[in-house]
Amino acid sequence: MSVYRQLATRLLGHDSLFVRRTFGGIHPPAFKQHSLRSRIMDTPIPAQLHIPLNTTQRESLSMLVAIGERVRKYQKLAEVSLGDDHGTSLPVHAPTSGVMRALALAPVADHESSEQLCLTLEADGRDEAIALRPEANAAIERLSGAEIQVRIRDAGILGMGGAGFPTAVKIESGNGFGVELLIINCAECEPYISADEALIRERAEHVVAGAELLRRACSARRLVIAIEDSKNDAIAALRQALESETVLETRCELIVIPAKYPAGSERQLIECLTGVEVPSAEYPTGSGILVQNCGTAHASYEAVVLGRPCISRITTLCGEALLTPKNFEVLLGSSIDFLFGLCGLKQADLSRSVLGGSLMGRELASTESVVCKTTNCLIAAGRGELPAAPAEQACIRCGFCADVCPARLLPQQLLAHCKTGDSIELIEHGLLDCIECGACDYICPSHIPLVSAFKDSKLSIDERQRDRQRSKYWQNRFQFRQYRIKKDKEQSLASRAEARKSSLEPIEQAASEAAADGAGGFSKEQASREIAAAVARVKARRGASSSDKDESK
């Protein structure tokens, strides 16, 4: 997509960042005011923490502590390999001091996986920390991009917005493309979630400093902080921080975008600010743009400046079933039960607990799930707050869904093709460009679960494409075999001719024939005799074993 690339460069070369109207979107009631009433609170240390390790496979884990060992706060517990394609690993640190008890699968409040391997840490309540080594300002200014990147990696920072992509990997993925623009995403457009807003209101300076560090890490030329216009306090705080901030060597811009869901979606945000549409199935880095969440920026600040690894995050606790909804700085591995308890959960009122916002969230099967690095919001929905959808009615093709779809898809047409299962039409209608934002479901007068249908269809398309890939592989193997057989035949013909001409050692001749003929090397009669004997042997053995089985039964 060199056209887009050029366009991006041209646009970014000039002072061309301004707010554009993006297509679609909805304006759901936000329900953020309740959790924003109080300041961010620290939680007490729970008796037991299940620290999620971001993987389900023990093989990808290299433990640095033993079960039963005493650990201190900030101590590195394990390195989690991220697979070959990332080529790096993610460290996990102890949120408090205590004794390691177990390593087991446990439910986790993560958007992608419901279960992860967790390390159980029995807290001793003393909260003994290993000494952190904060850097002096001068030292920080001397740090190179690569060094910042290493520190971010060592702190084990994941994308705090919810997608959970390792930040260091994301930064590195931009290196090959040359990132022009870094956008710090403070939009937080989804209802209920207010963690980022709370964070900015109280620690705007850290966010800005972290943003600048991220910019240096990916050597972007421009740095933009994007925030929705509904967050007045946060905007004021950011303005103030930007004015007072002295570390910045480049101008960091604050751009206020209109509040709309999903304005905070990566692609939509980029389009809104730059007018560049990130090409389908490509990452924004291909267009020279990198987007990081403001929580990530804050964590990066803590990691680089304070030397503090990522052991906690800001999580919104809200919902009508909570007496005092608020934002907490939660230690990773705290259970949701514990957190709800801190907010005064009215158990009788709780109808469902949801991770994330009300539009893209996931219902949690159990409240024993633990907080991980991507847990941005936990909703304890009261009775009638997030009700189950009424019975689905027929699609009347009103087109409301097409009007709100940020990807400009036609959900009503997609639905018809989902019903017939026509994967080719589905791909042509752009199902794979669906970002599953749920705007169509929100607006649909017939209460059709469109996103669920699309997710299912995506899965089956994915499976089909996997089959295709496998077929392609088999096809290649088959063709290679044909080629091999042909070549073998030629070779054996040639070698026979050779053998007839020259007087070779008989053993070598036999060997060459064996190599050429596969089954050759001894006479046919002998072979068949041996096979028959072997068959008889096996039959005898099998008869014996089956009678053994009979006896054992």
Partner: protein, 382 residues
Amino acid sequence: MIRSATGAPFQHSGNNISSLMLSVAFALLPGIFVSTWFFGFGILINIAVALVFALVAEALVLLLRRKDIAPQLSDGSALLSALLFAIAVPPGSPWWLLAIGIVFAIVVAKHLYGGLGQNPFNPAMCGYAMLLLAYPLEMTGWHVPSEAILGPLAVDGLGVPSAEPAREILNPLSLGAFKQSLLLAFPFAASNPSELGEFIDGLALATPLIEFKMAGQSALLAARESGNSLFARDSETAWELVNIAYLLGGLYLLFKRIISWHIPVAIIATVLGLSALFYSPGGAAVYGTPYLHLFGSATMIGAFFIATDPVSAATTRSGKIYYGIIIGVAIYSIRVWGSYLDSIAFAVLFGNFCAPLLDHYCRPRIFGHPTRTTTNREPAEP
């Protein structure tokens, strides 16, 4: 498809089909009110009859198909179809005409395709067009309650009253007029046949477009200028007001974002443009003024209420514009050059026929794709 326990989203806007349908029905009220004011109770009787038959037909079909009756009856779609159909059919039509039309609409045009949301053609207009083809005589003139003053009325073959006024139009809101309308709708209720015969022969007042088509516009103007008592209640003014009432209803729908602007604007602009293009005061009278085309007949209700039926209309934005243009052109050409008097029904049906094609070819460009056509991401072929 059943919403799985964990399926997002959990929040909903609160839109639902019945409230949409009821809003559309609500927006029809001013038009219905003005029509009643000028043309009497015929339209209300039409609505009542059509509604009863529509609901009964729908319930029967659902019963036959062993589906839940209550949720589908209460979604308001049958109600809306019946309303639109009843407004289209001339007041004073006998009950069986309405029954045949609406049963055809509900059963054939809607439920044979599987019910709400799946019919490719607008049910109300299917029923209406079928009646227009099958009962042309009953479907042409609007009966207006009247009273004989000078003996029997001479009516020419086309239902246009001859020059001499033989009857006087009753106040449409009077009790006598109501009785007449009722008897016209339910002929079997008449106490003696002669009473009925008098009404059947009674005065038929055509819409201005029909009149200008039949007699030429100059005749219409002449009749009006001469102060002919036939036009005591000036039918053209009445039609203007009716259309303005429907326009108001349509604007309400636009304001409530129940319909999008694309279809009505495209239709109105096309009709306006074409009629302005062809009209010349000295030229052939058959073309009619743009004003007459917009406010003289059923253009407004067609543009705002009938063509925007979401089920049978095109659904993409550009598709909606083309859909409106096709309907507009069809409306104008059928009115001016065609042989049918009413053009909305046929034009909308023709638009419905084109809608799937438009939906297929007028897709918007998907986010992140350089061109409108999505490339299939299959592995490249050698």
